[in-house]
């Protein structure tokens, strides 16, 4: 992070120098190595899938994968993150159904969990907004959005190992968590 910060004004300085020096050919030689250095120093973004475990940045500046072991660790972590994401999605859905089915079937007798019959009263928007289930859902929503963006960014590295980890984790999570999923209007789905 600090690398990036320091190099920015540095580069500007040299840019200014070269702009002035266009009339002066001697100073021009001075600027060329620095621009080359800044080009090679930055991490190039791969735009095609590739298998590699050398110098793979993973979301944060401190997390750079350099060995096969680190890649294995990252694979497991990403796998479980994707699995957790699927579980969270399905948990939110079932929580939502538990807390809101009764409101949808407003003023209708609804069969309760153990054969009882519930009569639901109508709640206003304000009451709903301040209710615990909704606040809890909002917190879960934040977690879900953060994880979904993380997974998107991990997939975006184009590193084939990590992409496989995301896909396999999502598949495994779906397999284990959604076996009793019911058909509802799916509004918890986020960006993929």
């Amino acid at each position: 992070m600090s690398h990036e910060h320091h190099s920015m004004p540095h580069m500007d300085h040299h840019m200014n120098g070269s702009a002035i020096s266009t009339a002066d050919p001697h100073a021009h030689h001075h600027t060329t190595p620095s621009t080359e250095h800044s080009h090679g120093g930055g991490m190039m973004m791969d735009m095609t899938f590739h298998f590699s475990y050398k110098n793979v940045p993973l979301l944060f500046s401190g997390l750079i994968i350099n060995t096969a072991g680190e890649m294995a660790g990252a694979f497991v972590a990403v796998f479980f993150l994707a699995m957790f994401y699927e579980g969270l999605k399905i948990a939110r859905e079932s929580l939502l159904r538990k807390s809101q089915v009764s409101i949808r079937y407003n003023s209708m007798p609804v069969p309760g969990p153990n054969g009882t019959v519930l009569m639901e009263t109508h709640k206003t928007v304000g009451q709903q907004m301040l209710s615990f289930p909704h606040i809890f859902q909002t917190v879960l929503h934040i977690i879900q959005v953060v994880i979904s963006y993380f997974l998107m960014l991990i997939f975006m590295t184009y590193n084939a190992y990590l992409c496989i980890a995301v896909a396999a984790g999502a598949g495994t999570g779906y397999f284990f968590f959604s076996w009793k999923k019911a058909v509802v209007v799916d509004i918890t789905e986020h960006c993929h």
Binding site: M1, F60, M108, V125, M129, I135, T138, H141
Partner: protein
């Protein structure tokens, strides 16, 4: 070159050439815009679901009960006919839904591309906007 990890900076280029941020004030404004886009995304998501519930009340038990009592009307799309009327009207509703879907997809991609800049401020703005949007819009789904 573009870094591939999260960092705090007030310099970023978002989505278009002309959206070139290089000052704290510009960054604050950009974060605000991204927040509003995220709120809009959540609102459209809920609006779409609400429209769907209104035009396709197959899930509403009261309506399906009525259709059971009127067997001559109990066709595949009774609910649609009841609320949306003629097929022309149904087509109109469907077009509106399609339009909303397109807007939602485009917004989703724009926000995603902005997050892809790996700028922490933008990311936090998107998260906060998404949370606010969900918090406010979701209870409106069940409002009459």
């Amino acid at each position: 070159m573009m870094p591939m990890y999260f960092f705090f900076s007030d310099k970023v280029v978002l989505l278009f050439d002309f959206w070139n941020v290089h000052s704290p004030a510009g960054m604050a404004l950009s974060v605000l815009v991204m927040m509003l886009l995220a709120v809009l995304y959540e609102a459209i998501k809920v609006g779409k679901a609400k429209l769907l519930l209104r035009t396709m009340p197959a899930m509403a038990p009261s309506l399906s009960q009525e259709t059971l009592e009127e067997p001559e009307r109990a066709s595949m799309n009774t609910g649609v006919e009841r609320l949306a009327g003629t097929p022309q009207k149904w087509f109109l509703w469907h077009s509106i839904q399609t339009l909303l879907h397109v807007v939602q997809v485009v917004l989703g991609y724009l926000v995603m591309l902005a997050v892809m800049s790996y700028n922490m401020w933008i990311f936090l703005g998107v998260i906060v906007g998404s949370a606010i949007g969900y918090y406010i819009a979701y209870p409106l789904l069940n409002a009459r």
